[in-house]
């Protein structure tokens, strides 16, 4: 039998690995494209808000130039329009709101995450959610009719004892036997108190979510070393939740800067560059727009839209920074169960 030696076959191409990644099915390709399009539509909307407001503000900015940012009064009859006073008023109201809201939100968030009895925790979380769901106009009513009569006593006390400080000065005699209550009623301070009710739940919800994620191992380690609960908070929870604290507060600040209805109910409009937050009369950007929109002529409308554009840029900057800080702070955002 002849042994047939197999003829050397022509060299085969080196084996290629099988393609493991199959192409997407048609339905998946559509799904991918569709969900991406919808997801990016939110970006498109955000951009469109900016673009449309920006386009509308071109005539105003061309007409007034940089004076639009430095003029104090809002006086369309004499063609003197500017947002210096309203920007200051916006900042004042937001400042008061944050000074009140920050400690309350932080304290409440810590209370929920670390101190509350276990049965109360669910209820307190619900309370925060409910507080966020209550419409701002209702906080406006609350601030105007219930809070104001009590808060003016506080205003008066502050101006009596700290009147030398420009923020707390009021242009009237705080020590008079019959004190002029009307000088205190519609101030940036009281508007800020009402706005703080809207800022608290926003900030608190973010902070609580981050505090709850503080690693349990580190908490228990701190306790095992003999730490008190406050020790655990100071050394574990607060350092871990720093991003959430900053981000949540800034998100609340963005909300406070743009709050409209409650502020428009409480404040009596005044266009002044004054630091006196306890004195009646101030104006914020959003309340200015809400108050003058109905009766505005075409050119005034453009001016109001410009004010809105400025407000948009400010709040977008604040909110985006906040969102960025928050997203950095929860690095393990995806929870795989």
């Amino acid at each position: 039998m002849a042994i047939t030696v197999p003829e050397p076959s022509p060299p085969r191409p080196a084996p290629q690995p099988r393609r493991v990644e199959p192409g997407l099915e048609p339905s998946d390709r559509w799904f991918q494209a569709g969900s991406t399009a919808i997801g990016w539509s939110v970006l498109v909307i955000t951009g469109a808000v900016g673009v449309f407001l920006g386009v509308q503000s071109v005539p105003t900015l061309r007409h007034y130039g940089l004076n639009f940012f430095t003029t104090v009064e809002w006086n369309p009859q004499f063609d003197r329009i500017g947002i210096a006073a309203v920007l200051l008023g916006t900042v004042e109201v937001a400042f008061v709101a944050m000074v009140v809201a920050f400690p309350l939100a932080l304290g409440f968030a810590l209370f929920i995450s670390d101190y509350a009895p276990r049965w109360a925790k669910g209820w307190l979380v619900s309370a925060i959610d409910l507080m966020a769901a209550v419409p701002s106009i209702i906080y406006g009513l609350w601030g105007f009719y219930l809070l104001k009569p009590h808060a003016i006593n506080l205003s008066r006390w502050l101006s009596q004892h700290f009147g030398w400080f420009p923020l707390f000065h009021v242009n009237t005699d705080p020590n008079a036997a019959v004190w002029q209550q009307s000088q205190y009623t519609s101030s940036a301070f009281i508007a800020g108190l009402a706005v703080s009710m809207m800022a608290i739940p926003l900030a608190c919800a973010v902070m609580r979510a981050v505090f709850d994620q503080a690693p349990i191992g580190e908490r228990e380690a701190a306790l095992a070393l003999g730490g008190t609960r406050w020790g655990v908070i100071r050394k574990v929870v607060l350092p871990f939740g720093k991003g959430g604290i900053i981000g949540g507060s800034m998100l609340a600040l963005g909300r406070a800067l743009g709050e409209t209805a409650a502020v428009a109910i409480i404040l009596s409009p005044a266009y002044l560059l004054s630091p006196r937050i306890l004195q009646s009369g101030a104006q914020t950007t959003s309340a200015l727009i809400a108050g003058n929109f109905g009766s505005a002529t075409r050119s005034q409308l453009s001016a109001l839209l410009t004010a809105g554009f400025v407000l948009f840029l400010i709040t977008l900057a604040v909110n985006s920074t906040a969102a960025f800080v928050i997203s950095r702070s929860r690095s393990g955002a995806s929870t795989e169960i």
Binding site: S27, T36, V49, Y115, L130, I137, T228, T315
Partner: protein
């Protein structure tokens, strides 16, 4: 806190020694001693403040009294605790009382808001016409037996309904994109969505004004609904994403292992599993939309009559009715405003309870 492993727990019978040594240190239990120092400090500070503040200094106002009482309490309590405890424990106790006080203030503020609104709205509620009539042809000074807020209630429902039709598909679609796609794109979108949740509502109104109304679109319920959808979409998207993320990854992988495509997995596995969470997200969005004032003010404007057609006439809504009624300063209009505020609050509370019930179902199913 102070209870160390050596002591038996304050309540209950003392456990055998061997077990006690292994029991974890109780950090939430107050001993008899702790309760006494707390109660004693409260009482003694109250007595001191009543004597000094009320009778000697002649202080004014309940608010001042409470603040002074609290500060006195803190001082006395710190002293009492310091008598038998080291410094870290004193600090811990003071922080504890401060956090209890802060939480009390927040809960108190929230409950006064709810109670006060409902209490003052009660007067308007006693007139049936308040719910069945509109304000058309009724002067603001007319008594409560005339006119009503039916137009505002109907307007609110129509506007929010249209806004839901727009924002829920958009919001849940965005949530799917953020939760089911990996990479840099979804992360960026998530940041923007988070920023948009705090977008001032008045800017959404101005946006629709600059987009549509300037070009001839009528000021109407439709315009208000579109603006509302702009603010509601990010809220639905963010809350929806959270609920999609808690769908166990194992379910997805099981679906892939059976050969399902990604679209089919999302449609048949992920979305049905997250149904309750998505319903909650929708309700959260609706609760936000229902309360928006400035949006309706700018995109629609107030009216006193009933408007059913969303693209024709200005359509009022409850928040805007409250706003304009309060702005008139008429006592009767203010009563109506509180009546409308109570209706609005009742709607929000009902939505809130619904959201709770839905999310509890979700917890029970898993």
């Amino acid at each position: 806190m102070t209870t160390t492993t050596v002591h038996a727990p304050a309540t209950g019978r003392p456990a055998p020694r061997a077990q006690t040594r292994r029991a974890p240190r109780r950090i939430r239990v107050l001993t008899f001693d702790d309760w006494m120092s707390l109660g004693g400090s409260l009482l003694s500070s109250l007595a001191l403040v009543v004597v000094v503040y009320e009778h000697l200094v002649d202080g004014s106002g309940t608010l001042g009294f409470l603040v002074v009482w609290y500060l006195t309490f803190l001082a006395i309590y710190a002293g009492v605790v310091a008598m038998s405890n080291p410094r870290p424990i004193v600090v811990d106790r003071l922080v504890t009382t401060a956090l209890w006080a802060i939480s009390g203030v927040v809960v108190f503020a929230l409950s006064t808001t709810l109670v006060y609104t409902l209490a003052r709205g009660w007067q308007a509620f006693t007139h049936l016409n308040f719910f069945t009539r509109t304000m058309a042809g009724v002067s603001p000074t007319a008594p409560l037996t005339q006119g009503g807020i039916l137009h505002a209630i109907v307007g609110t429902f129509i506007e929010v309904g249209i806004a839901v039709l727009i924002s829920v598909p958009l919001g849940i679609g965005t949530a799917v994109y953020m939760a089911e796609t990996a990479g840099r794109g979804p992360r960026f979108v998530r940041t923007v969505v988070e920023a948009m949740t705090a977008l001032p509502e008045i800017l959404a109104g101005l946006f629709v004004y600059a987009l549509l109304i300037i070009h001839g679109f009528p000021k109407s319920g439709m315009a208000a609904a579109i603006a509302m959808a702009v603010t509601m979409t990010p809220i639905v998207a963010r809350a929806g994403e959270v609920s999609l993320r808690v769908v166990p990854g194992g379910l997805r992988e099981a679906s892939y292992a059976l050969g399902a495509s990604r679209f089919r997995t999302v449609r048949k596995v992920v979305l049905p599993s997250a149904k309750a969470g998505l319903a909650t997200a929708t309700i959260l969005g609706v609760a936000r939309g229902v309360g928006e004032t400035a949006v309706v003010l700018i995109a629609s404007g107030a009216s006193t009559f009933m408007a059913i057609n969303p693209v024709k006439n200005p359509m009022n809504s409850l928040p805007l009715f409250i706003f304009t009624a309060v702005k008139t300063g008429e006592p009767l209009q203010i009563q109506r405003a509180f009546g409308a505020a109570s209706v609005l609050l009742a709607i929000v509370l009902a939505l809130f309870v619904a959201a709770r019930v839905f999310s509890r179902d979700k917890a029970g199913n898993r």
